[in-house]
């Protein structure tokens, strides 16, 4: 491992670094040990608390929770993406009458907490929790997708659109046939990163009483007794985080693959990794 930030370590620096590593690891291990000791004093590791995971109904409840989480996320993503494309086309329309109101709406949607939108749909339209969760996710993520794709279209060289118009395509045809495909491909890493955000945000369904994974944890803990809260929470959180890490890995993989193929071969792709990482 060499870095431009420090010299290739000599024997002395290596020794210091090794000592640092050992001390650092010991500190972290010590902290972990302390946490485990504290937990053990609370009786967290008693077998009976974990024995619930041998029961099929616990797993079926957890499974239902995961199913609810994933189905809300999938439906929201499937609706939000086309909607985002459409909003993006309207947002960059040549007509100010369309462009400006859409811009205001997008700014409004992006400046709003997702949970507030879910709550809004739930109460104002009196829908069930599933529709509220999906609607909240769709509204917010369509706005974000639209902004990402817009950034992609604006990063294209001007010549793309000019060439399209020159060969006689209408403005709309040029957007659809020439610009959008390139923009979407270029922005793939950001789009997939946003999918991770969407998946994470389904957990907000807990707040509007949608029966997703975290709600399932709460229900089981209420039913089985507080002693089981930690084991169930621990397993559910691990499952949630594992799913998210998998999707994030796919995003990273697409990003690598994208840069290798240089997204359509025009200019260098600059998929703003920093912007994409906004929670």
């Amino acid at each position: 491992m060499s870095s431009v930030l420090y010299d290739v370590p000599g024997p002395k620096a290596r020794r210091v670094s090794l000592i640092g590593s050992v001390v650092g690891s010991l500190l972290i291990l010590g902290l972990l040990a302390w946490i485990i000791m504290t937990l053990a004093q609370q009786g967290i590791f008693e077998g009976r608390r974990w024995a619930i995971f041998t029961r099929a109904d616990v797993w079926s409840l957890l499974g239902n929770g995961i199913g609810a989480t994933l189905s809300a996320a999938a439906l929201a993503a499937v609706i939000a993406f086309p909607l985002g494309l459409m909003l993006c086309l309207l947002r960059i329309s040549d007509l100010a009458v369309i462009r400006i109101p859409i811009r205001v709406v997008l700014e409004f949607l992006r400046g709003m907490p997702v949970v507030l939108m879910m709550f809004f749909v739930l109460l104002v339209f009196g829908t069930n929790a599933f529709i509220a969760v999906v609607a909240g996710l769709v509204l917010y993520n369509a706005a974000v997708f639209s902004e990402i794709i817009r950034a992609g279209i604006q990063s294209l060289p001007k010549g793309q659109r000019e060439a399209g118009l020159t060969v006689g395509l209408t403005s709309f045809q040029s957007r659809m046939i020439i610009e959008l495909p390139q923009a979407v491909r270029r922005m793939m890493p950001s789009l997939v990163a946003q999918l991770v955000v969407l998946l994470k945000d389904t957990s907000l369904g807990y707040i509007v009483a949608y029966g997703e994974l975290l709600r399932a944890v709460q229900v089981m803990a209420d039913f089985l007794g507080p002693a089981f809260l930690f084991p169930i929470f621990f397993v559910a959180a691990a499952i949630y985080i594992a799913i998210n890490i998998c999707v994030s890995r796919i995003a990273v993989w697409i990003e690598r693959r994208g840069t290798k193929k240089a997204a359509g071969g025009v200019a260098k792709a600059e998929p703003e990794p920093i912007e994409a990482a906004v929670p």
């Binding site: 620096a13 609370q42 990482a277």
Partner: protein
């Protein structure tokens, strides 16, 4: 409309608490995030590994789970707080720090190699290279994304409303229950106050982006 006007003091209190949560967690997250980013590029392998694991896990943890842990699981484990604000601040700053660490790290990577090489060639140590040469430039380039993360933080603080903290969203929920016939107005009022915080920050981000942009 009456519901909003009658309860303006509550909205105001909620706004202040949202602002308080965001500011305190923002400052903690900035410090923690910068330290994590420094650890991520340091020569000590254990620090690198720790920082990498922390960022990877926290970035992929839904915020609601972080809140659930801090506000419901921790008290059951014997870590109790006098006020739920503390739990909210722990959850928000631990979560946001991971994103700030990533942003600062990409800022460090954006500083030209020559800067670090020049610093090393005049005999600076790693800590000096980082604190005197690299970080000041890196932080400057990442100000706009950092502001975006802070905007997200303001919006994320709304989750605290569901975990026993009465901030803007928390009061919104209370008022929506109390004024069943004016839900639309009550919630639009909450939305308005959120926009009051996020829109100026967004404008600030784009202005700063133009001002501090370093042409390389």
């Amino acid at each position: 409309m009456d519901a909003i006007l009658e309860n303006l003091p509550l909205y105001w209190e909620g706004l202040l608490r949202t602002l308080f949560l965001s500011t305190v967690s923002g400052v903690i997250a900035l410090v923690l995030g910068t330290l994590l980013a420094a650890a991520r590029v340091s020569p000590v392998a254990a620090l690198r590994g720790f920082s990498m694991t922390y960022v990877e896990v926290l970035r992929n943890t839904p915020l609601t789970i972080a809140f659930f842990f801090a506000a419901i699981v921790l008290p059951r484990l014997g870590v109790t707080f006098d006020q739920f604000e503390v739990a909210a601040i722990i959850a928000l700053s631990a979560y946001t720090a991971a994103f700030i660490a990533e942003a600062v790290r990409s800022g460090v990577n954006s500083v030209p190699v020559g800067q670090a090489e020049a610093a090393r060639s005049i005999g600076m140590k790693f800590s000096q290279v980082l604190s005197l040469i690299i970080l000041p430039q890196a932080l400057r380039t990442v100000i706009p994304p950092l502001i975006n993360i802070l905007i997200a933080l303001v919006k994320n603080s709304s989750v605290a409303g569901a975990f026993f903290v009465l901030e803007l969203f928390g009061y919104g929920r209370q008022l929506a229950n109390a004024y069943g016939d004016q839900v639309l107005a009550v919630l639009l009022g909450v939305a308005f106050f959120y926009l009051l915080l996020t829109v100026p920050l967004g404008i600030l981000a784009s202005t700063v982006e133009r001002k501090v942009a370093i042409s390389r």
